[in-house]
């Protein structure tokens, strides 16, 4: 039996060695790019704004953000450690040259780009698409294709690149942009406000149930380039929309910065369901390379009886710094946060949520599952705050951590603050490892150890996986397995 164990250990080592190969989205598309000059200055901001043919107010908004950003300091309170980022040693705009005029139809898109998305499993030809999912594809700094626009138009739903929305729906964008995540919110959000290049804009009109799932697929391709996308979703009174985003990037030894801002506004009776499968390149098994993912996501339940639900599956990135939050402003509004964060090798994740209860009878629910393997560090950080006027507010939080291996860490940092006596907050957290008897039970029934780990971890995450739309859930389950390969020994 000792021999069997040795064999298995050797296999595990092999699996670890191969792990770098397991990231199947690590390829690079060879395509000619147009870039802004390297570095960050007012000129960079002007360059981006001009590229997008933006109105003056937008440029001024960006410049205001840039000036503010210069006075800000990078935050250091999260449990992530990384080499100081040189903000001058990066490109802030990179777009495929072939896309300098936004293609009017899919036939005009550079075949190399179409091929890239095909390889990523996101076919852009509408006839090939899964029924019922519209896609906005963002390639480095620009949106290259948006599908099903016509069909959505019929329902009155606006689904387009934000750069287009700034031009075509200026008043709407101006009314809401920066109202959930103010320009001055935090270092990374302010940087994004100055240099964001593209992203998705969604507006669902009053009483409309969006006829299909909307999604954005973000791809970083260019070297030494940061991606700064900005997404703004507005669900008008009584409307409903489900939105998904996915992300990948090539394998590179250098770290690349991704600093996005997502703002959601739900008006009276509206509901927004926002799902993310984040699979940026995580770096190799020695911790080299990978995306630095500093993201500000916040939803404002502005109207009574509105609801915002975040679901995230975070398996990629060298560093994840992300707290999708809900401001429960309207009475009877509901906020949800379902999260799976998996870190392996040298990955670091510091993620969680903020639920700010302002309105009466507001409810929030937080389910967080953190899985840490290899030498990774995984932190849940969350705030539940009940303000004095939030009569009868309710929160339930369940935070579970699973450790695989003796050299990783799992941390839980919840802040629970209540200033209303009729409110009720409950928080539970556990930390455990995959029990040896569970693993043995599975292997005794013939399931190989790695598959058994994936099975057990998927079970551990089930409550969150169930929140994902069907097509995504299957992908996410597979991803859970892939992310943990090489983690048992």
């Amino acid at each position: 039996m000792a021999a069997a164990n040795e064999t298995r250990k050797a296999e595990t080592k092999l699996a670890v060695a191969e792990l770098g190969e397991k990231y199947k989205y690590g390829f690079v598309t060879d395509i000619e790019m147009e870039r802004a000059p390297k570095g960050l200055s007012e000129d960079t901001v002007r360059f981006i704004s001009a590229k997008k043919s933006e109105p003056e107010w937008m440029l001024q908004w960006r410049l205001g953000a840039f000036r503010r950003w210069q006075e800000m300091r990078e935050p250091n309170w999260a449990r992530v450690h990384y080499q100081k980022i040189d903000y001058q040693d990066s490109y802030y705009y990179a777009a495929p040259k072939s896309q300098s005029n936004k293609p009017q139809s899919l036939d005009e898109i550079d075949p190399k780009i179409l091929e890239t998305y095909k390889k990523l499993g996101i076919p852009l030809h509408e006839q090939m698409l899964l029924a019922g999912v519209a896609v906005d594809a963002v390639f480095d700094s620009v949106s290259v294709a948006t599908t099903f626009k016509a069909k959505l138009n019929e329902a009155g739903v606006i689904f387009c690149p934000i750069s287009e929305a700034i031009r075509d729906h200026g008043e709407l964008v101006r009314k809401y942009l920066g109202t959930v995540v103010p320009v001055t919110d935090n270092f990374f959000a302010t940087l994004n406000s100055a240099v964001f290049s593209d992203g998705t804009f969604v507006y669902v009109p009053k009483g409309v149930r969006c006829p299909m799932e909307l999604s954005t697929y973000f791809r970083i391709n260019a070297q030494d380039t940061g991606q700064f996308e900005r997404t703004l979703i507005i669900a008008d009174e009584g409307s409903y929309v489900s939105y998904l985003e996915g992300c990948t990037a090539p394998k590179r030894d250098e770290n690349q910065l991704h600093a996005a801002v997502v703002e959601l506004v739900a008006l009276e009776g509206a509901e927004i369901k926002y799902s993310t499968v984040q699979n940026w390149y995580p770096g190799d098994e020695d911790g080299k390379g990978g995306i630095y993912n500093f993201v500000t996501k916040r939803g404002d339940c502005r109207g009574n009886r509105s609801k915002i639900s975040w679901t995230q599956v975070e398996t990629g990135s060298a560093i994840t710094w992300k707290y999708p939050s809900c401001i429960l402003r309207g009475d009877d509004s509901v906020g949800e946060f379902y999260s799976i964060a998996i870190t392996n090798n040298y990955q670091q994740a510091d993620t969680g949520t903020k639920m700010t209860h302002l309105g009466k009878n507001t409810r929030s629910r937080i389910i967080s599952k953190g899985i840490s393997a290899g030498r990774a560090q995984n932190t849940y950080r969350g705030l539940v705050s009940v303000h004095p006027r939030a009569e009868n507010a309710r929160n339930y939080t369940q935070c579970d951590s699973l450790l695989i291996g003796a050299q990783c860490g799992a941390h839980t940092v919840p802040y629970i603050e209540s200033r209303n006596r009729s409110s009720r907050i409950e928080h539970e957290a556990t930390t455990s490892k995959i029990a040896e008897d569970q693993l043995f039970y599975c292997t005794q029934r013939g399931i190989p150890a790695e598959e058994a780990v994936a099975l057990i971890v998927n079970g551990f995450c089930r409550e969150v996986l169930q929140q994902l739309p069907m097509e995504f859930a299957v992908e996410a389950q597979k991803l859970v397995g892939i992310s943990l390969e090489g983690s048992v020994g």
Binding site: M1, A2, A3, A4, N5, T7, R8, A435, E436, D437, Q438, F440, Y441, C442, T443, Q444, R445, G446, I447, P448, A449, E451, L455, I456, N458, G459, F460, C461, R462, E463
Partner: protein, 249 residues
């Protein structure tokens, strides 16, 4: 089917099995009886390949092959099944998902074609009916919140689904009332076949009223101290372990 020769096994440096010899032919049902701490569960874990059980001497041949070098999942794929005394709970993984994953992993390892979801469902339903395992149980997370009887029934259901060549039943009777015991025994008896051997490990004789063994072995302090036919179980029940051990010493 199974040839165990002079098996010595240590757990945490302490020797538990001290020269156990046992052989089971195809189609036979053997019972191992013994008092608590005699090494019954150790034997079952060693056969299934659990980590932490160190073989210091002796050999185990299964269908002529050395069993001891195989990983647990290889043994399972080769037809070794252990119905555990304490089946493990796995939250979030439904019983049906588990059955499908395990069945297909075994088939894959044997180079057989995998069975699709519909096929597995059909197979499981058919077996479940015979064991009175309700459909609803298959949808629940594996063993989570199951009663003792439900857990044991599920173990036998798995044996029926996987169709092992060697089934080891570790204290399958513990924690069962008489009705549940009969049901489980029926399930086990249905599995008797000319190409299948079974090793029934138990503390009490009562299970053997329902699963009648071909041979009975008495295990004490890591060794087989007495062997005989099915009547040996009755003798044990009548005279008690202490007396038999004393006689054998």
């Amino acid at each position: 089917m199974l040839e165990i020769k002079n098996l010595h096994v240590a757990v945490g440096g302490q020797e538990i099995l001290k020269g156990l010899t046992l052989s089971i032919a195809d189609g036979e049902v053997h019972a191992i009886m013994g008092p608590n701490g005699s090494g019954k569960s150790t034997l079952s874990y060693v056969l299934a390949g659990r980590e932490g059980y160190e073989i210091t001497q002796g050999s185990v041949l299964y269908r002529g092959q050395d069993l001891t070098t195989m990983a647990p999942e290889e043994r399972a794929a080769q037809g070794v099944f252990l119905a555990m005394q304490y089946p493990v709970e796995i939250p979030g993984v439904t019983t049906m998902t588990f059955l499908k994953t395990a069945l297909n992993a075994q088939r894959r390892a044997r180079g057989e074609k995998e069975v699709d979801a519909v096929g597995v469902l059909k197979l499981v339903r058919e077996k479940a009916k015979a064991l009175n395992v309700p459909e609803e149980m298959l949808k629940r997370a594996l063993n989570v919140g199951f009663s003792g009887g439900e857990k044991k029934r599920l173990e036998i259901l798995q044996a029926a689904v996987f169709q092992p060549s060697l089934a080891i039943l570790d204290e399958t009777d513990s924690g069962l009332d008489i009705d549940a015991l009969k049901l489980v025994a029926q399930g086990v008896n249905a599995l008797r076949a000319p190409d299948r051997a079974m090793l029934v490990i138990t503390h009490y004789q009562r299970l053997l009223n329902y699963i009648v063994p071909d041979r009975v072995h008495v295990l004490s302090a890591g060794r087989i101290i007495k062997e005989g036919g099915k009547e040996l179980a009755l003798e044990l029940e009548a005279r008690g372990y202490a007396q038999i051990i004393k006689d054998a010493a």
